[in-house]
């Protein structure tokens, strides 16, 4: 599926080597939430982490309100500050140079790639993709979105994304999410995984919901609790 080779020995919890992950997905799939939580998890484990906002169309709306708080955990957040983007307007936003070169940074790199399906193409703008064999592109799937709600739809959708190494079942309905909704998503995403031979890296959900589900979902995928930061952001 393209130029990125999947890492056969890759594990979600590998802590010995550098972790480089790009989170892609539809609007409202939960990319940013999953990426922020992943970055925090790695930072708390004492790792050097770079969290990169790569929404190049509407930068800084997602991470801006929580940027300072994230930085206080010791991680580096590469994202535009509001004051730096003043003056650009609709004439065009530019990719922050340090984001473009983020893959060359020391430590783990978590890329939060915004702007829906088109956003996946943002990877083409990054320097060093070829030299980063550890790069894992993870597709965040919310099966409660109409265009990714069935196996067929998700298969079509992933084909549009380009190379993908892992799937994350982040099926949710915002505050209305229940364990049933997450499990329903787990079944759909696991079937996609079987068809494509791409692993389900994890099922993610709000802490309250994951507590009810337990450490594994109904398909045996690892369940990762999320602390929800996005309700405090713009979207």
């Amino acid at each position: 599926m393209g130029k990125l080779k999947p890492q056969k020995d890759w594990r979600w919890f590998t802590i010995s080597k550098r972790i480089v992950e790009a989170y892609v997905g539809e609007y409202a799939s939960g990319k940013s939430e999953v990426a922020v939580n992943r970055a925090l998890e790695l930072a708390r484990a004492g790792r050097k982490v770079n969290l990169v906002d790569l929404d190049i169309v509407e930068p800084c709306y997602t991470l801006r309100p929580i940027k300072k708080e994230l930085e206080e955990t010791g991680m580096t957040v590469l994202a535009w500050e509001t004051r730096d983007t003043v003056g650009l307007g609709e004439a065009g936003n530019i990719i922050k140079p340090e984001c473009r070169w983020a893959l060359y940074r020391e430590g783990d790199v978590i890329l939060d790639i915004g702007y829906g399906v088109e956003g996946a193409k943002t990877l083409n703008l990054l320097e060093g993709v070829e030299e980063t064999p550890e790069l894992q592109v993870l597709a965040v799937i919310n099966a409660k979105r109409p265009m990714t709600s069935t196996v067929e739809e998700i298969l079509d959708y992933i084909k549009e994304l380009g190379p993908v190494h892992g799937l994350i079942n982040n099926t949710h309905l915002g505050d209305e999410t229940t364990p049933d909704i997450v499990q329903e998503g787990a079944r759909v995403v696991s079937e996609v995984s079987n068809i494509l031979g791409i692993p389900v890296v994890a099922t993610t959900a709000d802490q309250k919901v994951t507590k009810q589900i337990g450490p594994q979902d109904c398909m045996g995928n690892t369940v990762r609790p999320l602390v929800r930061y996005m309700p405090r952001t713009f979207w």
Partner: protein
């Protein structure tokens, strides 16, 4: 190819722009005409991603003037046609929509307001109220819905097609950039399954038969030779509009009966107002809200009744008094004092409203 886009009720999580695209699909819209502008772009993106499956159409034009006029053309051809725009695009859209007003064409336009004047900001404001309600070079012969959440974006986009085709006035759904981009749950449904019948469309031009022989000629005009003729035609339009108004007007109000102060707000700002009223009532303060859902026609009588009872009306809007202008016109002569809370181009939170009410009481 032309299967139904939605069967059964579906709870989904998405952005407001996607909701609009799905609503247009569910409403059986035949074609969208459009020109890209933030923050409405994803309406086009999601419409065009979906339509190959359902046999619908899209035309990207060279600008909003053209998008508006092609929407007019689509309607003349009997298509359930719509367009979407924002900000300076909405400015350009006014010329074709004035034509639709004069010719009584049921165009549907989604507006996702952004900051102004001019290009300004791409994200949010409520500064297109005056433009969307009264922006034509005429008399505002149009219908404007102001939804406040994703469910309403879905419901009122479907409704807009029916109101437009039933009464034959151009109809607008006035959202904003926050509603466009926000992620929220929504129940998608097929209108037919809810008992909502889509008003059938009808060709204006290209009908079968010979005009004047087999059928009345269709004489749809936006140009008149004499002042008297225009005057006469307009009187008929005004009469139709007035007759329609009570059937179309929508509003919501709560806790206004004994209220000392009533907050008036529309669209996304209403969300903060609703919560503020809950909070203030819990503290024992006599505060209610009035929310116009149609900004054209405006629920004038209903608000005037409220304004004759309450001591004060606090008008909260993300504009410098554009909603207030509609209100003052509607309640002229009423006794309530008007307290402005104008924050042009920026959001208004529950906390800010609560603080402002306490200051005003």
């Amino acid at each position: 190819m032309s299967e139904k886009p939605i069967t059964g009720e579906k709870r989904a999580f998405m952005t407001g722009n996607e909701v609009v695209a799905w609503a247009a699909l569910a409403a059986g819209a035949d074609i969208m005409y459009g020109y890209p502008i933030t923050p409405q772009n994803e309406i086009m993106h999601y419409w065009t991603r979906q339509i190959p499956k359902y046999g619908r159409k899209f035309l990207q034009t060279e600008d909003e003037l053209s998008a508006g006029f092609t929407t007019v053309g689509g309607v003349l051809a009997g298509l359930r046609a719509f367009t979407a725009t924002a900000g300076p695009g909405n400015t350009l859209m006014q010329e074709p929509m004035s034509m639709a007003e004069m010719m009584r064409l049921p165009t549907v336009t989604i507006v996702q307001q952004r900051g102004g004047p001019s290009t300004a900001t791409v994200i949010y404001s409520q500064q297109e109220v005056t433009l969307t309600t009264m922006g034509g070079n005429g008399e505002g012969l149009r219908i404007v819905y102001s939804p406040s959440n994703h469910q309403e974006l879905f419901d009122y986009t479907i409704k807009a097609f029916n109101t437009a085709w039933k009464y034959r006035f151009p109809t607008f759904v006035l959202g904003d950039g926050y509603q466009a981009k926000m992620r929220e749950s929504v129940t998608l449904y097929d209108p037919a399954e809810r008992g909502i019948e889509m008003v059938p469309t009808e060709k204006y031009v290209g009908k079968p038969g010979t005009p004047g022989v087999d059928r009345d000629p269709g004489h749809y005009r936006n140009t008149y030779n004499t002042e008297e003729e225009l005057f006469e035609v307009l009187q008929k339009h005004f009469a139709d509009y007035e007759k329609m108004a009570p059937e179309v007007v929508e509003y919501a109000q709560e806790a206004v009966e004994d209220a000392d102060l009533v907050i008036v707000a529309h669209g996304v700002v209403f969300r903060g107002v609703r919560d503020a009223v809950k909070e203030l009532r819990a503290e024992g303060l006599k505060v209610g809200y009035f929310r116009p859902i149609t900004l054209r026609p405006f629920p004038a009588e209903q608000l005037k009744a409220v304004a004759n009872k309450a001591k004060k009306l606090l008008i909260a809007e993300s504009a410098q008094g554009q909603l207030a202008r509609l209100i003052k016109d509607a309640i002229y002569g009423a006794s309530a004092e008007i307290v402005p809370m104008f924050r042009p181009g920026v959001g208004i939170t529950t906390e800010q409203i609560v603080a402002k009410v306490k200051e005003a009481l």
